[in-house]
Symmetry: C2
Subunit: 317 residues, 2 copies
Amino acid sequence: MLDRIPNKEDIIGAAGIIKPYVNRTPVLTSATFNKRYNSELYFKCENFQKVGAFKSRGAVHALLSIPEPDRINGVCTHSSGNHAQALARAAGLFGVPAYIVMPENSPQVKIDAVRNYGGRITFCKPNLEAREATLKEVQKQTGAIEVHPYDNYDIIAGQATAAKELLEEEPDLEMVLCPVGGGGLLAGTALAVQYFSANRAKVIACEPDGADDAFRSFQKGKIVPSVSPHTIADGLLTSLGKRNFPIIQDYVMEIVTVSDASIIEAMRLIYERIKIVIEPSSAVPLAAIAEQKIAVSGKKTGVIISGGNVDLKKLPF
Amino acid sequence: MLDRIPNKEDIIGAAGIIKPYVNRTPVLTSATFNKRYNSELYFKCENFQKVGAFKSRGAVHALLSIPEPDRINGVCTHSSGNHAQALARAAGLFGVPAYIVMPENSPQVKIDAVRNYGGRITFCKPNLEAREATLKEVQKQTGAIEVHPYDNYDIIAGQATAAKELLEEEPDLEMVLCPVGGGGLLAGTALAVQYFSANRAKVIACEPDGADDAFRSFQKGKIVPSVSPHTIADGLLTSLGKRNFPIIQDYVMEIVTVSDASIIEAMRLIYERIKIVIEPSSAVPLAAIAEQKIAVSGKKTGVIISGGNVDLKKLPF
């Protein structure tokens, strides 16, 4: 279990450890987007990952980083959805119980999925305080070990493997765009780019206007938690973690924010042109390109598509 | 230009000719489906093909099979959508005009796409007679060469390359499932399986109940055209072609039909589990598995996903 920022060898190690249990996801392109934005855009499609999101990487890595005797009472976490599924699945693979605290407003499709993977759910109010308090209670009752969704170095090292794979296929990317919620994917992506990019590509984080705590924290130089965040990108409601923020400060070039309207339009365009099912969070980087918040013209650019778990009966377009 | 059933070398040749102009599409799997149907299902994802459908393969091959001096006045066709886009794109790549006759009830997204590829559209009533009469008129006025959407051996050889690629990745498939409309994809798939399958996999065609002319033709041993077909699978409304039928009689094991309700449910499942955007026609084989019309249990099975051009504002689930 890592107690410091993952180094290059940690991320190489994580990639090896998780390899049998996760998908190597495809990198897709769109001639239409490349023409429209005068760029070469490479979409790393973690919607095709196990449980439909990058979270499987971190969850498997974190679970396997816990010494076996310590796993006996299970693992637990609070999560708005994808980490919950990912941890439930990872635990299930190794016969470990998974106790999941979920906000009561989580999409039904995510609740069902956690149950299908054998996760034992306790619901709570949809705010960070309620999540943490409920989790403490669950921990007290079960003796399970907490696996935080993002504020955890083993999780960060696991999430970093997505960008590592992207850079193996496209080593000369000049930019990598990534959505930011709690900062697990972003911190991992920033480290992977730092260690594995031939050109030291610039990492730019993309965040909804309605949940812009990362943007504000980045500007102020200290963590500014979200208060009542509101966005269609339900995977990005969480506030930056304290292990994530310093990595982001050091290795992320810029954080830009976009409107929900742009996110919805970008989501629709990705369905229409790339022919993939994504959740709103995954559309945030393309929304930033469309809003001209990021100058991709002439630049070879990677985009992390974070996941595809969406309630198909409630598509916003 | 082929005037006989494509042989093995014709299909190998077609694959080489079209290679620079089409995508080698990915083959995806779903742990959920494999578990549910006790099978190994391999989905060949032609929704990721250029213009969003397998039709790009046949269109590029047919266009390049026309001797250059004969292309000068352009090419023309009638098509409910994907072939129209594919031919317009293929013609555009080589500076050839494309005249497209489309039924007036074609989905708007397909009409827009044909125009974006530079195709010149003439609308007609949505029946075969009107399509053929309008096309004759267009041909008379322009001198363009007709490239039929399916009743054309160069088209069949082009479409065959999808199953050829699938068999390169999964040579020991025991069954290959394919939707059938006019029979271009099905005849091509049947030939590719005949020539390239290690086990002579069985080819099973899947058709909507409401457009079951291929099923009835196969039963009667002669072409029985569709009369007022009606199905959500708008790509499968056409009747079998006369060049396609004999190939299907010789090399297809069985044709099964499914309800529109099953097609819609299978479509939703593919969005939810495989995370890809498909059009209803692509869901017909999975609907046949779900209706237990095809016994896939214990069998390694390929499924051709034909395309992904769907009006996202009118998803049927």
